[in-house]
Subunit: 271 residues, 2 copies
Amino acid sequence: MLKISVKVQFSSILVSYLSCYIGAIIPITALYKQMANSFNSISGAKRSLHLHVAREIARAILSGELAQGSIIPSEMVLCEQFGISRTALREAVKLLTSKGLLQSRPKIGTRVVEKINWNFLDPQLIEWMEGLTDINDFCNQFLGFRRAIEPEACALAAQNATVEQRKELSSVFQKMSELNSAPELDIEAWIDIDIQFHRIIFFSTGNDFYLPFGNILTTMFEHFIAYSSEEGGTCFNEHRLIYEAIMIGDSTKARETSREHLQSINHRIKE
Amino acid sequence: MLKISVKVQFSSILVSYLSCYIGAIIPITALYKQMANSFNSISGAKRSLHLHVAREIARAILSGELAQGSIIPSEMVLCEQFGISRTALREAVKLLTSKGLLQSRPKIGTRVVEKINWNFLDPQLIEWMEGLTDINDFCNQFLGFRRAIEPEACALAAQNATVEQRKELSSVFQKMSELNSAPELDIEAWIDIDIQFHRIIFFSTGNDFYLPFGNILTTMFEHFIAYSSEEGGTCFNEHRLIYEAIMIGDSTKARETSREHLQSINHRIKE
DNA sequence: CCTTTGATAAATCATACAAATAAAATCAAG
DNA sequence: CTTGATTTTATTTGTATGATTTATCAAAGG
């Protein structure tokens, strides 16, 4: 713990933010250690101190409480407020710098970068948005994005998937088929296998730029998108069409079926 | 500088890597400070020590010298090899962890994550690939990726661009037109304005998920893709068609013209 | 087979010093 | 006295280092 005298004047923004999310009076270290276990299970994101702090700062940025272009409080001030060492804080800042949220220079301080430069395609960043945006709008934007990516990915997969990948896709589809024919839909299992289905397609494109979308899709499904049982049922046929097109290597058909699939679905929102 | 005695046995992989890229004998700190100025101008990436180290480690991973799933040498060993403090090394590792390249746990060490989880859509990561991949293949993959993203982005921009964004696009197109009608094509200026043209389109989609592609495209153009003068000429008409479609809000036409543009181009490779 | 214990590597803390630079203070020329 | 250039100073991030804590594997012991 730092021993310098407390400066009374500091960013009112972050203070209000802190009191909102953590409570500014109790030293965060104690509070954190107290909560560590209960939080661990929720998202697995609080294992390390710097990650916890990074998340808090990121959410302050994403929510707009720390305005774009503004200078956040200096390292010393933040260390006090979070009750952590400079090492931990700096690692948190480095993490956010890497994602395009912050940028720091000597004497100037650490600045919140313009939204234009935020790396929205980072799964961790997407996770951190939970509860900060209008989920409905967010999911619709994501859908508008999937409509660009997935049809092309399916077309490429139909063309480039290796034998092993086709086998894997086949076995996943098999499980999908079993789940679908069961008397009652096991939603948990369906979500899991649905994610796997789409992941394999991205990995089968033979194009490195499509790889990250497997994780992005997974994050979105696990944090923002919910299923209804009817939907799972109706979706199966569409998945079958995509599957068949990829397996026979018909890229045009794969693109078409995927496009139709994405036109028909309407993401259900969590909670 | 660490004062512990040098352990003779360490990862031969990283050693060979080091001797290859930096030279293992001279302390890196000195060497780095010597090179700092000359490097600064090249990419601006060497300003800080941890960033420099992060880049080196990242390139060792991207090139495959540090195998996926393998454990990299411990902090102490790496500190010695790079001649830096643990602080700097840890910040470098945090940076790479944030990009999905590394993951570290107590007692285990720091592991290279599977390629599946690498964040290929991070501009910095793309920058670091310079010289490590077959550029031709890399650019073709990128083209296969643009073919998915850009037509949709153009369609969305036609639909959602604000008045200010349309004005901005218009002014950029104006400059494009001037450059095109000049007796001799100013390639530098054309690249610059071409990048701006596409950036504005991404920013005009009204969809946050498209925002990162502005920077990705910029990075690719600046580091991997070269222009020939004839190409700039033939491209102008295609840009005009896209521009007009967006300005009149015809999303279908915007999608089509963009698609045609991407079908016709054949990325020229740098050098 | 299960539990305990020890060794090890990362995680965090605390402190010191270096480097960069914005802003203030100083100096020089008109 | 004013103005512009220059130097100095103060502040903030950057780097280094050693101590301490925590998590986890692995081996010893019940």
